[in-house]
Amino acid sequence: MNGQVEQVHDVPEDDESPASDTSIGGIGFAALVTIAGIVFLIQSLQIQSQAGIWPRILAIALVLLAGAQTISAVVQRLKQASLRSFEVPSSRRLFTAAWLLAYCAAAQWVGFGVAMLAFVPVYMVVMGYRRPLWILLITAGFAVGITFVFDTVANVPVWSSRL
């Protein structure tokens, strides 16, 4: 051993490239799938009829595969380094996910259309689009578009609240 310590980054510098299997995210996801497999297995054992056979086989296979993935990733990580950093996804991505969730929650109470009137322009502004007239035109044009396609053609209540 040369005494040097290799640093493991949980998210590579180039955020477009895939995260490593040995990252916290990689291990966490594999562990989560293993736990899900165990939960399904326990539930399937409680099904007394033949309807439990197929999910039981799948759950066992999932626990074995995801478990193997988790263990191999943990072992590799232990071999690789002692210094570790943990990076969360970029703030732009977190905002997109959170804003989408907020839109879905709001749309249920105020309707798709009204929620959209806030969701679209605020998103554009926060993400750095700095053309007020275009923001206004795009939002208005899009509102007309979805009203025509969904409300008029597909009979989806775009502007009704409490869906």
Binding site: F29, A30, A36, C104
Partner: protein
């Protein structure tokens, strides 16, 4: 009425022509927009097709498939950024031509070769039809079960994610498909007390979550448009002439595309690269490849579009999709209550001919509509991401609601989006998950029938000839890394022998 004639009547009715053209244009828009792609475009449109007749739905979806296959090459040629992985190889010679100010010429070569490739694929499907009809009839439950295993093994082996991740994704998909009322006794399974899960996990919302939400979150990192400038265009007619002069490359590419399309998992990307390598090896002037050789565009583009016909063979005859696009077509068929397999050849034969007719018509549309739209399509690549993301998100959310009028499905899609994003970041193959999720219920049904048939002694199915062949094929596919290693070792030895 004769089913062929009935399909022709549907396809050439006002609605049929309109839906085919609309589908093709939507496909072109999705294909030309880097980051959107075919899977997302199809996933977004499927909810709208649920209120249509199955035939109209298939016409519009095949139109999208054709449009995406063609238009994915436009950003490859003009901005050196492939709209889809299968269009990556076209960047080599297409972008080289665009840099010389011959972008339109390269697009015309691509459109001509794509159209001929699509026609080849459609004709191949027609020729294969009687054989498929026979094959689908001799397939019993054990054969379907083993073909499902072969399909999953092929897709996992073809992905570069590794077997552990591939099978984990596939089995997770199949397991999540068991949520809800059981097929056997209608008792709810794995609902965890949530009444919304009794009907199972919704297919449309899963699809949109996996593809649309995860992709929008990924794209949102980029604050700009994909590109700011477009390379020069040039002469269209010259491109058509150049493509026709490369007819041998087109024929070879089409043949390769059809063959590769038959094998689940080996989609357009493999076919296009195989075609490119073949053309370069057979060319008298291989040094021109990568610098704007027409055969470097014509061969791969023909291969990419003939894959459509080839990949529909396992999808329609056995219900095993070979790619994400065919998985989504299969989803649409199932949402319309049509099950691929023997029934398709007897009860829903009009749909079958409509699909084939749509593929052939897609080839015609590529030439007429595709060429005339190439310039406006190229402009789509300069839409800023901060504008694109919220619009796609809103369309996705309202689309999910429109498909079922059930708001809980939107939350299912959000959960699927988280899963899709994790898959994307950690390189789990989404197509394996989707295959497991779609084919899971069918596999369970066939598994239970086989279980009852063999009274629990499942290995007895290996005495059935087709099952034995499928089992050996599955093993061979799974041994792919070994074959690759042996071939590479052999090649090294030969090369060393020559140099010595």
């Amino acid at each position: 009425m004769n089913p062929v004639w009935e399909a022709i009547t549907i396809l050439f009715s006002f609605n049929g022509l309109l839906f085919a053209t609309i589908g093709f244009i939507i496909g072109c828009i999705g294909g030309a927009m880097v980051g959107i792609g075919g899977a997302l475009t199809t996933a977004l449109v499927i909810p709208f097709t649920l209120s249509m007749t199955p035939a109209d739905a298939m016409i519009i979806l095949i139109g999208i498939y054709s449009g995406v296959s063609y238009a994915g090459s436009i950003p490859s040629i003009l901005i050196n950024t492939p709209g889809a992985p299968s269009s990556a190889v076209v960047t080599l010679d297409g972008y080289a031509m665009a840099k010389r100010g011959e972008g339109a010429t390269a697009i015309a070569i691509s459109a001509t070769a794509s159209a001929i490739g699509a026609l080849f694929g459609g004709v191949c499907l027609i020729i294969a039809l009687p054989f498929l009809q026979y094959l689908a009839k001799v397939f019993g439950s054990p054969e379907f079960l083993l073909f499902g295993m072969f399909g999953l093994a092929s897709i996992v082996a073809a992905s570069d994610a590794g077997y552990l991740k591939g099978f984990t994704a596939g089995i997770l998909g199949a397991l999540l498909a068991t949520v809800g009322a059981s097929l056997l006794d209608a008792n709810p399974r794995f609902t965890f007390g949530i009444s919304e899960l009794i009907d199972g996990i919704d297919l449309v919302s899963t699809m949109i979550g996996l593809f649309a939400f995860s992709e929008m979150v990924r794209l949102s990192r980029n604050p700009h448009a994909i590109t700011d400038t477009l390379a020069g265009l040039g002469g269209m007619w010259r491109g058509i002439r150049l493509a026709l002069a490369e007819w041998k490359a087109i024929v070879r590419g089409s043949g390769l595309g059809i063959l590769v399309g038959f094998v689940p998992g080996e989609g357009g990307t493999v076919a296009t690269f195989m075609s490119y390598i073949t053309e370069k090896q057979l060319a008298k002037d291989p040094e021109r490849f990568g610098k704007g050789h027409p055969a470097g565009i014509a061969g791969p583009e023909a291969a990419n579009n003939s894959v459509i016909g080839g990949s529909l063979v396992p999808t329609l005859s056995f219900g095993i999709p070979g790619s994400v696009s065919t998985a989504l077509l299969l989803t649409a068929l199932m949402l319309h209550g049509i099950r691929p397999g023997p029934n398709l050849f007897t009860q829903d034969v009009v749909i079958l001919y409509t699909i084939i007719g749509s593929i052939l018509f897609g080839g015609v549309l590529t030439m007429i509509v595709g060429l005339s739209l190439s310039r406006p399509l190229a402009l789509l690549t300069i839409i800023p991401i901060p504008v694109l993301v919220p619009l796609v998100c809103v369309i996705s959310v309202v689309g999910i609601y429109a498909a079922s009028f059930n708001y809980s499905h939107i939350y299912m899609a959000l959960a699927a989006g988280v899963l899709g994003y994790a898959f994307m970041r950690l390189r789990y193959p989404i197509v394996a998950f989707l295959l497991g999720f779609i084919v899971g219920p069918l596999a369970e049904e066939n598994f239970m029938r086989t279980w009852q048939l063999t009274q629990g002694h499942l290995w007895e199915v290996l005495f059935r000839p087709i099952c034995a062949v499928l089992f050996i094929m599955t093993l061979l596919v799974l041994l792919r890394p070994l074959w690759k290693f042996l071939i590479q070792t052999r090649l090294k030895r030969v090369t060393n022998g020559h140099s010595a």
